[in-house]
Subunit: 305 residues, 2 copies
C-alpha cells in the first residue's frame, strides 16, 4: 500500500524528538525549548531551540507540516504544468530542518534537512541533505563524515553517494566567494518512485539519512568539545559564521523561498549564527586559515582520504 | 551640449574624496584607506574604508566606473528590448555607494548611493537614494533628516520629495519582518530627460543629493557621538545590525545583482556591519526598543513632525 503523508510527517516529528534528546544529552548543558506555531495557510510546526549550552551556542531543530492552496508562484517555481487544474491544487509539505552552531570553534557547524512535498494531483517527492561546515577543517574528521554518509547511502543504492555528494558540492557553494560552505555532504531533491524504486524505498532512504544525523553529530561534538582554542580561532569562527549568513541569505533556495512566501521568519532564520562578523578584504594569516580555505572547493573526494 | 559620462564619473570620484575628508574630520580617530581595483569586464573603482574610528566602527565609501559587454541577463533585468541589437551593446555604470556603521548605538547607520548607467544605444538613467537607520529612533532627528532631504529635492522639483520618499518606504522594507529598515529617506531610479527636465537638470539634482550627504551625516555624528549608552543599547544595536544584514542580502537589488553578476565582492559587502547578532524569537523589553519598532513602518510623514 502506498505510504500516506501522515505516516511521513509523524516519522519526521519523532525524528525531531529523537535528535533533540541525543544532542541535548551530549551537550550536557541545556535542553531544547519548544515553540508550536500555526502556518497562515494551514498546519503548522514545532520549533525547538537550544541556547547557550555547554557545547552548542545555538541549535535549532524545526519540524513542520503545512498545507494550503498551491500558490501559482510555487507551481511555477516547481515547474508544474498549471494549465490544467491549478485552481483546484493544494499542497502539503513536511520536514525537519536542523542547523547547529557550537561555541567551541573546534566543533563544526552542521546542517540537515529531510522533507516531503506533495500536490493534490498526486505529484510528490522527497528531498534533503546533510552538510558539515567546520570552522577549521580536520581532514580525518571530514573523511569520516563522508564515509558515514556513504554507508547510509550504500544501503539503498550504490549510485546514491557519488551522485548526491556532487549535488551537495554544487548546492552548498558561494559563487561570489568562489568557495564551498564547508566540506559538503549529500544533497538530493525530487526523488520519487521510478522503474527501480518504490515510494517506500525512497522513504526508507530518507529515514536512513535522518537517523544517521544524531550519531554522526554527537560523535563530532564528543571528540572536539574539550579541545583547546584561542582568540585567533574565535576571530576566525566569527568570519566563517559571516560566510554562513551569506550562503543562507543569498543562495539557499529554501531560505529565500520561505522568506519570500510568508513562512515563519523566526523558524526559517533559526539557521542564523548567534553572532557573525565581517572584515573588509580579510587576508589569511594563520596556517589553519590557509589550510581550511584550500579545502573549501568542489570535487574533493573525501570518501577516499 | 549633452553631458558626457566622463564628466559624471569624475564628479562622482570627487564626491567620494570630499565625503571621506569631511566624515574622517568629524570622526577624529581614523582615516579612509584606499583600495583601487579593476573590474573583470573593464574599468574599475576605488574602495575607501575607515575602520575602528572614534565614532565609526566601519565606514565604506565606494566609487566605481565599469564598462563592458551588456550581458543578456542584465538587459533582461533592465527590460531592455534585446531583439534588435543586443550583440553589439555595451554598458557603462558609475556611482558612489556609502554605508557607515558607528560604534556608539546613539549614532544612526546611514546609506547613500548615487549612480549613472548608460547603454551604447543611447539609453541612460540616473538613480540613487539616501536612507537613515537609527538603532534607536530619535523623532526630532528623523524629522530633521527628512526636512534636509526635502530641501535638497525642492530646489529641483517640488514633486520629488513626496514621490521619492514613498519610493524609499517601499524599497527599504523587509517583508519577512514587516518592518522598514530605518526611518527611510529618498529613493529614485531610471531618471532621464523628459518633457520637463534635461539630462543636465537631473544631473544637477543628483549632485544636490550627493552633496547633502556629508553635512547631514557629520551633523548627526556630531550631536550624538558623546551620548551615553549601556549594554542594553549595545545588545539592541547588534540585533538591528542583524536586520541590516537581512535587508542587504535578501532584498537589496543592488547587492543581489552585484553578487550574482561577478561584481567585486569585498566592495559590495563593505555594507555589512562589522558584527551582527541574531536571537531566536526576541521579545522587546526596553521602552526604546518598543518605540523604535513602532516607528519602523511605511508612511510616517517625517517632514511634518
Amino acid at each position: 500500500m502506498e505510504i500516506k503523508r501522515e505516516e511521513i510527517s509523524q516519522w519526521f516529528q519523532s525524528l525531531q524528538t529523537k535528535i533533540c534528546d541525543q544532542v541535548a544529552s551530549e551537550d550536557e548543558g541545556a535542553t531544547f525549548q519548544v515553540d508550536e506555531w500555526q502556518h497562515t495557510a494551514g498546519g503548522g510546526g514545532k520549533s525547538r531551540v537550544l541556547l547557550n549550552g555547554k557545547v552548542l551556542e545555538k541549535a535549532g531543530v524545526n519540524y513542520s507540516a503545512v498545507e494550503g492552496d498551491a500558490p501559482e508562484g510555487l507551481l511555477k517555481t516547481l515547474e508544474v504544468n498549471t494549465e490544467k487544474d491549478a485552481a483546484a491544487l493544494t499542497f502539503f509539505a513536511t520536514g525537519v530542518s536542523i542547523v547547529m552552531h557550537p561555541s567551541n570553534p573546534m566543533v563544526p557547524i552542521i546542517h540537515m534537512n529531510v522533507r516531503y512535498f506533495e500536490l493534490s494531483n498526486g505529484i510528490y517527492w522527497f528531498g534533503g541533505g546533510i552538510d558539515l561546515t567546520p570552522h577549521i577543517i580536520d581532514r580525518q574528521q571530514a573523511a569520516w563524515f563522508h564515509k558515514e554518509l556513504k554507508k547510509a547511502c550504500d544501503q539503498h543504492d550504490l549510485a546514491y553517494y557519488a551522485k548526491f555528494k556532487t549535488w551537495a558540492d554544487e548546492y552548498f557553494y558561494l559563487p561570489h566567494r568562489k568557495e564551498t560552505r564547508g566540506v559538503g555532504g549529500i544533497f538530493f531533491d525530487r526523488l520519487s518512485a521510478d522503474g527501480n524504486k518504490t515510494k517506500s524505498d525512497i522513504f526508507e532512504f530518507v529515514k536512513s539519512i535522518g537517523e544517521c544525523f544524531a550519531p554522526i553529530y554527537t560523535h563530532l561534538m564528543h571528540i572536539n568539545k574539550q579541545r583547546d582554542f584561542n582568540d585567533k580561532h574565535i576571530a576566525w569562527q566569527m568570519l566563517r559564521r559571516g560566510r554562513y549568513v551569506e550562503f543562507n541569505l543569498v543562495w539557499d533556495r529554501g531560505t529565500k523561498f520561505g522568506l519570500q512566501t510568508g513562512g515563519r521568519t523566526e523558524s526559517i532564520l533559526m539557521s542564523m549564527p548567534p553572532t557573525a562578523q565581517w572584515k573588509y578584504d580579510y587576508q589569511l594569516t594563520e596556517d589553519f586559515e590557509k589550510e581550511t580555505m584550500e579545502l573549501l572547493q568542489k570535487g574533493v573526494d573525501w570518501s577516499q582520504i
